[in-house]
């Protein structure tokens, strides 16, 4: 076993240095910039349009007369600046338990209440998710001033209690986190798949494969290559996560703290994200390494890339069915199927707080990595090195 690990390490060290110390690794690190730039461009256009068309709804808990004053003030202001630019207000009569009423309103989807204004015109108080939206608070102050018929210079005091997410939007936000995490995992693996498939082309084209095959077991070489690529991509992943967090901190008010918290918490989620990325990469990587090992030229690898990409998309779609339905039959099937398991389980980490399924899933996925590598190395020996007697495929793993 020690020799196996040492052999794999020799290959991994060579591949890792050849990848990371090459000039092309800089381009690899810059690769996510392109989709991020595209996303940023289209996102900002979309956000601007959304800002113009979808103003937040503020629920006003006040007697009808006071709400009428506020509504009149809003109408007056809308004549001047346009209705689309102004915060929307919806009136609700006060009920006994203000806290319960507020909680219910914040959970409401129809209309999608962003904040609740209570305390009447004399002692207004605002509770809601408004930390990134100072314009809405300013507009409300203006409306209250106008409704009270005060001097414009005498701006009312409007204390704001910020709520990151309302109870009604939490599950939706977590589902979004799950989907984003799955998509990130999918795109990262997709990006690496062609690289992994062409891993053995170099050795096969410069004939060093013969020297390697005479010195170690083929599965040790496979493992070495796979882990070298994993180490290089984890290095890149850490760079990307840090760069992403820094960017978010700079451009988004409140920074990363404003992101919806996954069910297992951020530290656990990030740890699981890295583990499931490794597992997803190892599972797909092992399969792609085996597929790519059958190719003799870069052209053949390119030809293989298209069906492989489609297969990955199918598996991604399968894993996505589990979101919001983790315990449904498709959700459980996606968690059990080895190739969709890491993506599904990462989504689960965003939506569900229990830990034991993750431990079980990681062991299950590791078993499949070992199995694919074992069968793959036997297949490589038989199909590429033309070694050994012919065996039916179901006996390959035992040969």
């Amino acid at each position: 076993m020690m020799r196996f690990i040492r052999s794999a390490f020799v290959i991994a060290r060579r591949d890792f240095s050849a990848t990371v110390l090459s000039k092309t690794f800089i381009f690899f690190l810059l690769a996510p910039l392109f989709p991020v730039a595209m996303g940023g461009l289209f996102g900002s256009i979309g956000a601007r349009v959304a800002n113009q068309t979808e103003r937040p709804v503020v629920a006003v808990v006040a007697p009808k007369s006071e709400f009428a004053q506020l509504a009149a003030a809003r109408e007056q202001l809308a004549d001047a600046v346009g209705d689309q630019s102004l915060v929307k207000i919806v009136g609700y009569s006060p009920k006994g338990d203000l806290a319960a009423q507020r909680k219910k309103l914040l959970a409401s989807h129809n209309p999608p209440v962003r904040a609740v204004l209570s305390g009447g015109l004399d002692h207004p108080r605002l509770v809601g998710a408004l930390s990134g939206d100072p314009a809405t608070v300013a507009q409300l102050k203006l409306l209250i001033t106008d409704a009270r018929d005060d001097d414009a210079a005498n701006t009312p005091d409007l204390p704001v209690t910020d709520v990151h997410v309302s109870t009604g939007t939490l599950s939706a936000d977590r589902a979004t986190t799950a989907w984003v995490a799955q998509a990130a995992l999918f795109f990262l693996t997709l990006m690496l798949s062609t690289m992994v498939m062409s891993q053995l082309i170099e050795e096969k084209s410069n004939k060093i494969i013969e020297v390697i095959a005479a010195a170690m077991r083929i599965d040790a070489m496979f493992v070495g290559k796979l882990f070298a690529m994993l180490a290089a991509s984890v290095l890149a992943l850490v760079v990307w996560i840090c760069a992403g967090a820094l960017l978010l901190q700079m451009v988004k008010h409140g920074g990363v703290q404003t992101l919806p918290v996954p069910a297992v918490g951020w530290p656990g989620f990030l740890a699981l994200a890295i583990i499931y990325f490794a597992m997803n990469y190892l599972l797909f990587g092992a399969a792609f390494l085996v597929i790519g090992a059958q190719a003799s030229t870069a052209r053949e690898v390119q030809t293989m890339s298209l069906p492989v990409t489609f297969a990955q998309m199918l598996i991604f779609a399968f894993a996505a069915t589990a979101i919001n339905g983790m315990d449904s039959p498709p959700g459980l099937a996606a968690a059990a199927f080895p190739l969709s398991s890491p993506m599904t389980m990462l989504a689960r980490a965003a939506e569900r707080s229990e830990w034991w399924p993750h431990f079980a899933a990681i062991v299950w996925q590791a078993l499949w990595v070992a199995l694919i590598l074992r069968v793959g190395s036997q297949l490589f020996r038989r199909t590429v090195l033309k070694s050994g007697p012919r065996l039916p495929w179901w006996k390959l793993g035992r040969a």
Binding site: A18, A214, A215
Partner: protein, 315 residues
Amino acid sequence: MLRQASSGTLAVEAVDLVKDFGETRAVDGVSLSVPTGSIFGLLGPNGAGKTTTLRMLLGIIDPSSGTRCVLGRDRPLEAAPEIGYLPEERGLYPAMHARDAIAFMGALRGLPIAEGRRRADVLLAEHGLGDWGRKSIRSLSKGMAQLVQLLGTIIHKPRLLVLDEPFAGLDAINQGRLEELIRREAHAGVTVIFSTHVIAHAERLCEEIAIIAKGKVAFDGRVDEARSRLRPIVRLRTRASDGPWRAAIPANARREGHDYVFELPEGGPEPLLKALIDGGAGIETLAIERPGLHDAFVAIAGARTAEAMGQEPPQ
């Protein structure tokens, strides 16, 4: 423990190795015994099955049937740290520095990378490539790159060296250097197996050979034994064109210019000489030549091939 042969230990022993690629039988029942510390040549024309035999001996591929024992191990890869292998198709990572390439090949065989680099510097300096250690492989000439790979093959001080067509692509000077290196390794106790289709190299270097033709071993033994399978050749030129001495010349003697060329008769040189002198042949020149390995190879491989095809051996 190495297996014992009658004359000592065996570094490599193969019994009835067979290798089929689909419907094609590339190696058909090859058995070999390579004594420890010897230089062993695997001779045969291209496509005879030499490389496939070597790959089976090294454990790169498994035989369809048969067994092999390399340095006392039935699974050759277990002996990999004690083996150096130079494949027929040379290959190195083009971007690697020469010293790193040598150290990497050592690391594949279990030599720590730092020690590999240290030894690589020494070896490169010894072979006149001291200034090229930190140059990439792609900047070296083909001959230099081949030398680098050869140094990588011996960097970990193997007990068994397997060289597949090592002289291919080398100029005469580098061929001489390689022969010297092989002799030096053998002198140090290393067993060397090399394949070649150039008989002169085997003739100069080998103590033992195996001749492979069409996947079968046609001969396995000492070079002297192979040569002794053929009778010495007599080359005779006489002053007299005819006479009673002609009866002493074998009927199948051929003429090459003014010379008669024929195998020395069973009775040896004395009866022939007596008949020539008594018959008044007037011997101008008479040479009795010992057949070379080339003649032995042609005779052995040709006869075996003809036998396999069910035809008479060529005259």
